[in-house]
Amino acid sequence: MFPADLKYTKDHEWLKPAGDGTALVGITQYAQDALGDVVFVDLPEAGDAFTQGDEFGTVESVKTVSELNMPSAGEVLEVNAALADHPEAVNEDPYGKGWMVKIKLTGPLADLLDAKAYEALVSSESH
């Protein structure tokens, strides 16, 4: 449920470093399940720059809306344009087709959780 090669935030985003100074960002299995059916993902534009923790978009489900926060400082290289027509990919494949932005890392990866620590956080939230 929480792949070991990802880094996680306490706000339920994940970051997947590619090893070349870039990374993909999305929301976790736990987050998509809590939101329910996703109907729209509002994403930034390529070139937008963010510091760690900045709101970079929103994800809307039938019943609620949630902010997306940057797991790390970065500049947006690409957004997942397929989500415009298929927002349900966030529910169906949150770590794959449901990715949201690709960023160039512009700061160190700090204060992120590994899979084990994130799983512990989630199990304490859901009990």
């Binding site: 329910g36 059916d37 109907v39 729209f40 509002d42 929103t58 809307e60 489900s61 039938v62 019943k63 609620t64 809306v65 529910n91």
Partner: protein
């Protein structure tokens, strides 16, 4: 030191919901399923095209019986109770003297001198106290049957064909907003052709102890036909598409019955009832605000409950309920706006996360079933 959260109330189906991996939420003090694993959109579509089964056992039931029962219910509600035939139901409200809402409810006429009042879960205690407070002047008994009563709602175009094999009561002859008594799966039920989804369907009232057996039997009968268990999440999107009021949203103790668009339940000529004077006065002057339906113009602008309606940076109204509509594929909502703006085709702006989003006033209900 820590203070434990108050224990949530549970319906007789609580364990059944958990066994089906429902997502449970606190709904007005009740531990209720907001959705099952299929999700809100699939449950919503099942109700519109096939059928869905809801646990509504949290609703409150108050029985009023005796020679003074009719006069008491006439006094407490604005709709014409004397016009109800035995076996007929209508939608109505409890109003305060100023015409605002204690609650909305259904009145079932069980007999010449016997009525069943079905009220919202979150208002149940307040409603029972309200009826009791006014009852002493009338020769009748008032009994809160809520704890002893279970209720499930089978909703959707396949409702008749799913339910008929489980009961000897002929379902086709029961008209919309009529009811009868019979057995479902061998258990006594009040079988009511009513609902809160805009589809054909039945609400079954039964003994609390029988609720799970009836639920299980209906689920088994409907499963091959595409019946899904349905939670409060789709109940809300379904009723919103049909502009059915929800207490705490379209109606509450600050909104009166006429501005809520519920003039059709207010029979000012029926004789005295609580709230009549205020509504007569309100009717004599132009209403300052009106409930309208809107759609936002951009896909990204999804309005939500309680957001402000703004004009030139100032709040001029408020959204009561809003959500992306699974049936219409639009971002819909209901809002109170100044009457001069309440025209179909007119533009309003909703403040969504600090931004004024354009919306158009459109006709309601947003969805109406084809018969």
């Amino acid at each position: 030191m820590s203070i434990a959260a108050p224990e949530l109330m549970k319906t007789p189906l609580n364990a059944a919901h958990r066994a089906r991996n429902a997502k449970m939420v606190d709904f007005g003090g009740w531990d209720m399923p907001v959705q099952y694993p299929a999700g809100i959109i699939a449950e919503h579509e099942a109700v519109r095209t096939k059928a869905g089964l809801f646990d509504v056992s949290h609703m409150g039931e108050i029985r009023v019986k005796g020679p003074g029962a009719l006069a008491l219910v006439e006094h407490l509600t604005p709709n014409a109770v004397s016009k109800l035939a035995i076996g007929q139901v209508h939608y109505t409200a409890f109003l305060y003297e100023n015409g605002t809402f204690v609650d909305d409810l259904l009145v079932y006429r069980e007999g010449e001198q016997e009525f069943l009042l079905v009220v919202n879960a979150g208002n149940s205690d307040k409603d029972f106290a309200w009826v009791q407070q006014h009852a002493p002047a009338y020769d009748c008994s008032v009994v809160n049957e809520s704890p002893a009563t279970g209720q499930i709602a089978l909703q959707g175009p396949l409702s008749v064909s799913i339910l008929q094999p489980l009961t000897k009561t002929p379902l086709d002859p029961i008209g919309y907003y009529f009811f009868t008594h019979g057995e479902v799966a061998g258990f006594k039920c009040l079988i009511s052709r009513t609902g809160y989804t805009g589809e054909d369907g039945f609400e079954l009232y039964c003994a609390a102890a029988d609720t799970e057996a009836i639920w299980t039997a209906v689920m088994a009968a409907g499963k091959p036909r595409g019946l899904l268990p349905a939670g409060l999440g789709c109940r809300n999107t379904l009723r919103l598409e049909c502009k059915m009021a929800l207490y705490g949203h379209e109606i509450d103790d600050s909104i009166h019955a006429l501005e809520a668009g519920l003039g059709w339940i207010v029979k000012l000529d029926k004789g005295d009832f609580i709230g009549r004077e205020a509504l007569l006065a309100a009717k004599a002057v132009p209403a300052p605000r009106k409930l309208v339906g809107f759609k936002t113009l951009e896909k990204r602008d999804i309005a939500r409950d309680h957001m402000p309606v703004v004009q030139d940076g100032k709040q001029i109204g408020f959204v009561t309920s809003a959500a992306p509509s699974p049936t219409c594929g639009l971002n819909l909502g209901l809002a109170y706006v100044p009457t001069e703006l309440a025209k179909t085709g007119g533009r309003i702006q909703i403040e969504i996360r600090g931004r004024a989003a354009d919306a158009e006033i459109i006709p309601t209900p947003f969805y109406k079933r084809t018969k």
